[in-house]
């Protein structure tokens, strides 16, 4: 069965989806990713969907679920490289992926994750003070 490779980059995991997602693949990705987050103690998950041309409500929901699961495991999810057409489709489907961070490309997504990695102390300080 096909698997989507999950790469470890520092404290983040990079997932690049380069094939058409079907439902089984999406579910498998969710499982794999959850295990990998725990295994590596990752702080961030970067999902690059720049090659993804078609999304349906199931894939959209899976992305949302992955984000929720990651959050439980203390990892931030960033979805990067979404195409305009895909963005419009998701919005029309009523899936605005509220729990997911987004960025234009992998570079910015990494920057966003690093920023989050640096910030927790500051944020805690700010809320305390």
């Amino acid at each position: 069965m096909d698997r989507i490779p999950i790469l470890k980059l520092g404290r983040a995991l990079l997932v690049t989806i380069q094939v058409d997602m079907h439902d089984r693949l999406a579910t498998a990705l969710e499982d794999d990713l959850t295990n990998q987050i725990v295994k590596h103690g990752a702080h961030g998950v970067l999902i690059d969907i720049s090659a993804l041309e078609i999304v349906d409500s199931f894939i959209g929901r899976t992305l949302d679920t992955i984000a929720a699961v990651s959050r439980v495991l203390d990892a931030e999810t960033v979805v990067v490289g979404m195409r305009p057409a895909v963005a419009i489709t998701l919005v029309e489907l009523g899936l605005s992926l509220a729990g997911v961070k987004t960025a234009l490309n992998v570079e910015r997504g990494m920057a966003l994750l690093r920023q989050r990695d640096d910030q927790p102390e500051q944020e805690d300080g700010a809320s305390a003070g």
Partner: protein, 293 residues
Amino acid sequence: MARANTLLSQTVSDNEAVILDEWMQRLRQAGADQGGRINAAELQTQGRDFLSILKRTLGESSDVTGAAFEPLRELLADISRSRAIQGYSPRETALFVFSLKQALFAAVARRKDFSAEQLAQATWEASTMLDELGLHTMDVYQRSREEVIVRQQREIAELSTPVVKLWDGILALPLIGTLDSERTQVVMENLLQSIVDSGADFAIIDITGVPTVDTLTAQHLLKTIAAARLMGADCIISGIRPQIAQTMVHLGVELNVISKATLADAFALALKRLNKTVVTAKTPQAADSKAAG
């Protein structure tokens, strides 16, 4: 039915030149060639084509809505369409067919070999036929005008949704006019494509030019914002006018996004988020030398 048809057919084929002359005269009297939109020769050609097809068609059938009249209807449609595009009024367009009526009636009336009954029948036949053709002309005219309007709407929609780059990473989208779902689609596509092309972090949607914001408009705005967010760009809404702000609150419309009163405020916020500041140059010279360097 068939007899009247032959009567009319005979009349037209015997008096084609006379009818044409009289028709053209009527058209000129009514001012069809005025305004320089069509010259006399062109009008004459259209009239001659029309009559020659009419002559042929009348010989075959008298059913105006039937297949035999198809070429005639097509010719009329062409004429009507070009009139609509040239900006003729409906009256002027209809005149082309209706002024033939008088010429045709006169030609029928001049037939000495027709009995009174035949005369009445031929006149009636001519009248119904031309009325039907006149209606067809108006139909096509109306459709052509509607096509023109639809095309203009599309052009306006494209013209009125520019995406402006304010700074590196900051886009502005000044919206002008009512935001319906079709326009929202265009706006959204333009904005998202611009975000990809310019790699923008912020998009400022300025709705100063949007006359009313109801629940539907708000929903369209929210969709646009959600789509931009999915692409990794943050949206700021600016330019909500006082009355509109009141209306929105009364309607219970909630835009759970950053909104600023003016485009300038929104721009300042975007700059701040990008860790950029605008400072006043200490002295005019310093500003000049900086600009030069």
